[in-house]
């Protein structure tokens, strides 16, 4: 082995880079023995760099403040929720350009239900109003997704075309539903879905959820070890297991503690009878929804047969078909799931705005696709993770948030986000090509 390496080095002048390569290799070796996903790590690294950089260059160093991070988390939620569904769509080599328009149509429907219809039947501010409105949104989203997915899978029209049509149709439908009028306000309880001063779980519950998350992380690690032990498989080294557990739990608790330092504005605190006290807002509902969606979607993508089928179709559609997978049904399911997530995101969005307008979610399909792609989802199919998409959404929103703090104008923001998108995919392509060699 050593001899062949030497002779190769003699033959090729490029081999001068070898020592450096070996150094990188050992770091990679360290991560590999710890069974850490290097792709995920590089996304986290990028996020850390962006956060630290903005903290340094924003006037007054206001980026890494509880207030800004709290706002950032809420702003990310809507795109993050939809990006998890977009990953599965892109993994099967499809695309959904209609999510922004569907969001408008479904959002408008939910607004009409809670604003015009339900008060007539069950009265104003009924405790069930928000449940019924949300259910209508989810079902409608699922129906639209299933309809578009069926045309894609069973009729064989390219998804780009079907959802481009949907992009136009659903936006028009949204306008037509209320003749272009704005529908406001939303039901009081429904509004909590959007965060805001009442749409949070509070400081104590945030801590409880944080601790529960830590217990969950440790339990997952424990279950995996026990399972691998049962079959006598090689285990992740103990030092790595402990390090991962400590780092993950530490990060969760640190984040909760940090966000809990964002307090209710003094005026509102006085209103609620806590004059002069620091009342933590805690985690906002939309953020919890996004995290919950991320967990459920990761579970679906990695632990269920449906998820395995999705990745198989993306990797080799013919092989998936020959293996007996019901590929068409699987495709319809991915679009249906996407529709449900759009319904959920639409609920959060109209709750945040406290209104529904026919322009809801304009351009959002591109943010959603960009988040999935920055998170490592490949248009070639078969590759992409839910966590990656969540981080992709967070990275994009961080860029926008930081630039807003710096007072950079919107057109320049777009330029930066556009460059980052292409740069991220370029880097990914280069790394993947190297890995394939």
């Amino acid at each position: 082995m050593a001899e062949t390496k030497v002779s190769a080095a003699e033959r090729e002048p490029e081999a001068q880079a070898a020592p450096e390569e070996r150094g990188k290799g050992s770091l990679r070796e360290l991560f590999r023995s710890a069974e850490v996903d290097t792709r995920l790590l590089s996304l986290l690294g990028a996020l850390a760099i962006i956060w630290i950089l903005f903290q340094i260059i924003t006037p007054g160093h206001t980026f890494l403040t509880p207030r800004n991070i709290w706002n950032l988390s809420v702003q990310t939620a809507v795109v993050a929720i939809m990006a998890t569904g977009m990953v599965l769509i892109i993994v099967t080599r499809n695309i959904d350009l209609s999510v922004g328009a569907v969001m408008a149509a479904v959002g408008m429907a939910m607004a009409i239900v809670q604003h015009d219809w339900l008060p007539k039947w069950i009265g104003f501010d009924h405790p069930l109003t928000w449940v019924i409105a949300l259910a209508v949104g989810l079902v409608l989203g699922a129906a639209i997704g299933a309809f578009q997915g069926t045309i894609v899978a069973y009729v064989g029209v390219p998804s780009f075309i079907v959802t481009l049509g949907g992009f136009l149709v659903w936006r028009g439908v949204a306008w037509w539903m209320a003749s272009g009028q704005t529908i406001a306000p939303m039901d009081t309880l429904f509004r909590n879905l959007g965060g805001g001063s009442t749409g949070t779980v509070g400081g104590t519950w945030s801590w409880i959820l944080g601790v529960a998350a830590c217990v969950g992380i440790v339990m997952l690690q424990f279950t995996k070890r026990r399972q691998r032990n049962r079959y006598g498989f090689r285990q992740r080294p103990m030092w790595a297991e402990l390090a991962i557990g400590v780092i993950a739990c530490g990060a969760v608790l640190l984040l909760v503690g940090f966000l809990n330092r964002y307090y209710l504005p003094p005026a509102l605190a006085t209103q609620t009878g806590h004059e002069g006290e620091n009342i933590s807002l805690g985690l906002a509902y939309p953020v919890l929804i996004a995290i919950g969606v991320g967990i459920v979607m990761t579970f679906i993508a990695t632990r269920r047969r449906f998820g395995r089928s999705v990745y198989a179709i993306g990797g080799n559609p013919e092989a998936a078909e020959l293996a007996g997978i019901k590929t068409r049904r699987t495709i319809v399911k991915t679009f249906t799931l996407m529709g449900v997530l759009v319904g959920l995101a639409a609920a959060v969005q109209i709750a945040r705005l406290n209104a529904a307008v026919s322009g809801l979610g304009t351009g959002m399909e591109l943010n959603v696709i960009a988040a999935a792609v920055i998170g490592g989802t490949s248009f070639a199919g078969g590759i992409g993770t839910i966590v990656g998409a969540l981080l992709g959404a967070l990275i994009m929103q961080s860029l926008v948030s930081g630039m807003v703090l710096m007072g950079i104008e919107a057109p320049l923001q777009d330029i930066v986000v556009g460059i980052v998108l292409v740069l991220a995919v370029t880097l990914d392509t280069i790394v993947r090509r190297k890995a394939a060699k």
Binding site: R230, Y231, R308, A312, G315, N316, A319, L322, A323, G324
Partner: protein, 261 residues
């Protein structure tokens, strides 16, 4: 040697497949008995793969009949074939490159826990045991199969076919991408599976492979069956004459045989 008095394991009768106006397979009938290897040979475009794809469910026949254990069956999808105990190793292997070896072995038939979740450990364990038998050198169980060598990928495809207790195995050019050692390994495996009573259709370009492994040889030319012969009753030259000239051993002359060389 092989008892052909009973009911054939599989029988294809008057199979016809056309793509547009082109008849890829015309009225071909072949059969397969338990514990038998039937070699299917012919030049490029002879219709071997198309014929066999009607049995594996990858492409249904336009007309004709398929019988398993003497009973007529309808095979319109690979699922139907698998349910009847017909497993296929495709020439291009039909692997999902982005998924690891256990994932590919169990693709479409994943093992699940009692909650319906994927049981990756059980699948890896089963694949390790399977590979211990098929290809003991195989060790890459957790990387996407895209990064495996041709021989290793072939092992994954074979493992997938033999794990589910197939009764009929279709192997389309199983050794095309392999080196000599791996080719021998596949040959040994075919012999072993035949001993276990499986029926195997072996499609190959390599006449020597086919002679080495088959009991009977069916020859196709331009979508038609030239004939099926018992290996012990013919020479390689006579089979070559069938492949190239479309003449059965009785029809072929010495000058024909001389012209082949």
């Amino acid at each position: 040697m092989i008892d052909r008095t009973g009911t054939p394991l599989a029988e294809l009768r008057d199979i016809r497949v056309a793509f547009g106006g082109v008849h890829a397979v015309r009225d071909v009938s072949i059969d397969l008995y338990p514990g038998e290897v039937v070699g299917l040979v012919g030049g490029n475009g002879a219709g071997k793969t198309t014929l066999i794809r009607t049995l594996s469910g990858a492409h249904p026949a336009d007309s004709g009949q398929i019988l398993i254990d003497g009973k007529p069956v309808t095979i319109t999808h690979p699922r139907d074939a698998k349910a009847l105990g017909v497993e296929t190793i495709y020439q291009n292997l039909a692997l999902a490159d982005n998924i690891d070896a256990p994932g590919n072995v169990f693709l479409g038939r994943e093992l699940t826990t009692r909650f319906g979740n994927l049981d990756d450990s059980a699948m890896e364990d089963a694949t390790r045991k399977l590979m211990g038998r098929l290809n003991p050198k195989f060790q890459n169980f957790v990387v996407p199969v895209a990064s495996l060598s041709g021989g290793q990928r072939q092992s994954v495809a074979i493992a997938r076919a033999v794990h589910f207790n197939a009764r009929i195995l279709i192997m389309d050019e199983p050794t095309a991408a392999l080196g000599p050692a791996e080719t021998k390994q596949v040959g040994d495996l075919i012999k072993q599976l035949r001993e276990e009573g499986l029926g195997i259709f072996l499609i190959s370009h390599d006449i020597h492979d086919v002679f080495d492994l088959s009991d009977r040889i069916s020859v196709m030319l331009q979508g038609r069956l030239v004939g099926t012969v018992d290996k012990t009753e013919v020479t390689t030259d006579e089979v070559l004459a069938m492949i190239i000239l479309g003449k059965r051993p009785g029809e072929v002359t010495q000058t024909d045989l001389a012209g082949l060389h």
